[in-house]
């Protein structure tokens, strides 16, 4: 289990860094933002999970991912509106609004997926 977590940490770190670097080299800033929603965690997880759990398991994860992405959309829209006011720092806004992602994601899970 510990080795599995360490492998996930390393592979996830590399893939996330790769997409973050792509986001650094493109302009304008708003376009670079799409790399903040790159499927980096998904790619790392799918690569490792297929070997261990099989394709049917990953297919179920991917279906749920669609609902996680809907929650991310709500999170990003609220974050954008609050940051535009310029009143609060990025760290406090992006950190404190994470509860909204969880609320929407688990609301969809309870209403649709369960």
């Amino acid at each position: 289990m510990l080795i599995d977590i360490l492998v996930r940490f390393a592979v996830g770190g590399v893939i996330v860094s790769f997409f973050a670097a792509l986001g650094e080299i493109v302009k304008p800033k708003s376009f670079a933002g799409i790399f903040g929603a790159a499927p980096s965690v998904a790619l790392a997880t799918i690569l490792l999970t297929v070997m261990k759990e099989g394709r049917a398991y990953v297919s179920g994860e991917a279906r749920s991912m669609i609902f996680g992405a809907v929650a991310f959309l709500v999170y990003a829209c609220v974050t954008m509106r609050v940051l535009r006011t310029g009143k609060w720092s990025s760290l406090s806004v992006t950190g404190s609004v994470l509860w909204l992602w969880a609320a929407v994601a688990f609301g969809l899970w309870a209403g649709v997926l369960r």
Partner: protein, 136 residues
């Protein structure tokens, strides 16, 4: 608006900024694995679209903009981070398609082909969503 690529931008970030992204990304991936192991693929799958790297990136953009304006760019730094959030919102449409392609194709095609198609679909849909948002 034209999309531009500048490799020289890679040298402008401090190594600690790359390290923080590696750590955040690694932690998010490990966490997604632990949650899937404990609660199953339906709950674990939600975390494949967790905004893991976004808070770190937005914070870095704000501090870089502040530095660029010698400490006087607090508001413009936050607005630059808001632009990044707008791009991320466009990218989430791509994430939805990525999940859909993997859900429908992973049991039919080889793994490499599924992931390649899903990643290309993510890019195409994200760019299209961003262009629609810019044209409004």
């Amino acid at each position: 608006m034209k999309i531009q690529v500048s490799l020289s931008a890679l040298g402008q970030s401090h190594w600690s900024e790359y390290a923080s992204r590696f750590v955040f990304g690694g932690l998010a991936t490990a966490l997604a694995g632990i949650i899937a192991e404990k609660y199953g693929p339906v709950v674990g799958g939600l975390f494949l679209a967790f905004p893991a790297i976004f808070p770190a990136t937005a914070t870095l953009i704000e501090s870089q903009e502040k530095k660029r304006k010698c400490g006087h760019g607090v508001v413009s730094g936050r607005r630059a981070a808001a632009l990044d959030a707008a791009g991320a919102a466009a990218g989430t449409f791509g994430l939805m398609i990525f999940g859909f392609v993997v859900w429908k194709l992973i049991e039919l095609l080889p793994l490499w082909a599924t992931l390649l198609l899903a990643t290309l679909a993510w890019l195409a849909v994200s760019i299209s969503a961003w262009r629609i948002w810019k044209a409004r």
